[in-house]
Point group: C2
Chain length 341, copies 2
Amino acid sequence: MRFDQLARTQAAENSKPGIRHAPARDIAVPTYEVSPEAQALIGGPYPPHMNADPQNAAEWKELINRRAALIVAALPGLQEKLGVTVQPAVIGGIKAFIVTPRSMPEANRNRLLVHVHGGGYVFQPGEAALPEAVMMAGFGGFKVISVDYRMPPDFPYPAAMDDALAVWKAAANMADPKNMAIFGTSTGGGMTLAMVLRAKAEGLPLPGAIAPGTPWSDLTDTGDTYQSNEWVDNVLVSWNGWLGRAAKLYAAGHDLRDPQLSPIYGDFHGFPPTILTSGTRDLFLSNTVRTHRKLRRAGVDAELNVYEGQSHAQYMGNVDAPETREAFTDIARFFDAHLGK
Amino acid sequence: MRFDQLARTQAAENSKPGIRHAPARDIAVPTYEVSPEAQALIGGPYPPHMNADPQNAAEWKELINRRAALIVAALPGLQEKLGVTVQPAVIGGIKAFIVTPRSMPEANRNRLLVHVHGGGYVFQPGEAALPEAVMMAGFGGFKVISVDYRMPPDFPYPAAMDDALAVWKAAANMADPKNMAIFGTSTGGGMTLAMVLRAKAEGLPLPGAIAPGTPWSDLTDTGDTYQSNEWVDNVLVSWNGWLGRAAKLYAAGHDLRDPQLSPIYGDFHGFPPTILTSGTRDLFLSNTVRTHRKLRRAGVDAELNVYEGQSHAQYMGNVDAPETREAFTDIARFFDAHLGK
């Protein structure tokens, strides 16, 4: 009878139009056709820094460096596993890494990808930027330039975008832009979209395709899954924790709805073919599907893949999860279909 | 401080791997880039029959007829608005309707669609089947055959599938199957997938494309959003109400995991190009994305569109919502790209 009682209570609470009242719930880890590795990600505890509230630059840096150290420690193993080498470089005057796979399909010899990492515009400085670039190089067989763009607390907007554009401009002379793609996840997905907006505005060449994974396309807390997946997503958990604070730190007084900060408010006409990736529990599922819809309405060839049960960016959370290989392989196939050779 | 307190409680409750503990929440209606018509659907109260538990055939029929009457009453207005006529017919020995738009693009003259309606295998008998067929005919400019398949309580599985296949067989002689598509939402989406599985198994011609909208691809309560969107979706609300009861009534003792009942357990290799549609609050979002993933893995050209904030099948909930026109227009465009002429 427990369900019947709950149903009665819920029906009474949801008998009027407007706000949906959802009860407290226990949500089990999905197991069917979800790999054990993905199950471990989906069922993981909240991250300890979920509600971090650094009070000054030193506290931000302590948190940023602590998280970066964990990522950097795992990097050699990841590179080894995927047969990928990394060389620091300066491209267009900006710090970057050149990420090269041991083996590359013939079709990719004249192709070049540009990667902008995630991390809420604050996390993943230096080599901590690299895991996604290494996975794309390894799974996709592409050469990748990963941009080590400047970030808060020292360098708020527009430093990150200035750096990314400087690298794009320089990289677009290293290969035919039609043979190039820009990709990134979360903040890197938002930056990917903002880079195309800015390249359009400045008359720069556009890439042949882009892959903004679960893009932070709206830095304000606008979007239904900011609410419906709050406390359900175990990666970002809520906009009201560190995430919203990072948005404000990055914006440094700029309007969060400026299309260079929240590209969903920009004009997507003329965008290259785009592949988007998200998960059913992703706090940014709305960021992703709103971007997808707006691209379709602008006549852009746009593809959307959503993974069962996954929270934010968990499609790249474990290199050993079959879902990770699938996600990168699908993106690589999309690039192969749309990039010149 | 309320958020900080909740964050502490939540972090403690989600500090161990496994089940996610989500707190009770108030979820506002999304307003940005969501039309007023869609907002009204998204913010609507739960349907009164959400937890209906008819005890016998007479009680089922009373509920079925009461709901059908509401739909049938609105049908003339819908047909008028979209300029669509409906003729009852018998096709392959099965009751059906021929749905014809007033105007039809030249490219669609030799095309023909087959529609299988939704309603949990119990609802929408007779003319109540028609709203989706009328919208596809009107927005897409296609001639449509809508199957009035037999349903429980009088006719459990496999009657519905037998009828749908009989119509498909007969219809496949009325046009070139390459010029034909099968479409339907929810139960109609599950049936669309099951029809292709059965046509494959019986060596019948396959359609040139299909559009299973938010398909009931898994009649068991397997799938993450059966939990994560329970009480959030205001159309189906929960598998544990009338929906799960309808599944068992329809299956009548057959294994719910039989691919003819739950096509997600079937083999999608060789399927025609497929377009899927869902919403971020849809109880069947997992049914949809699991189907999408399985199609991709089978090498099928499969496209996924997810609407912001929408619960189950709300993309066809109001003919006046711009989102409804968009959803049908996107499906029509997909058909146009993949069907022969």
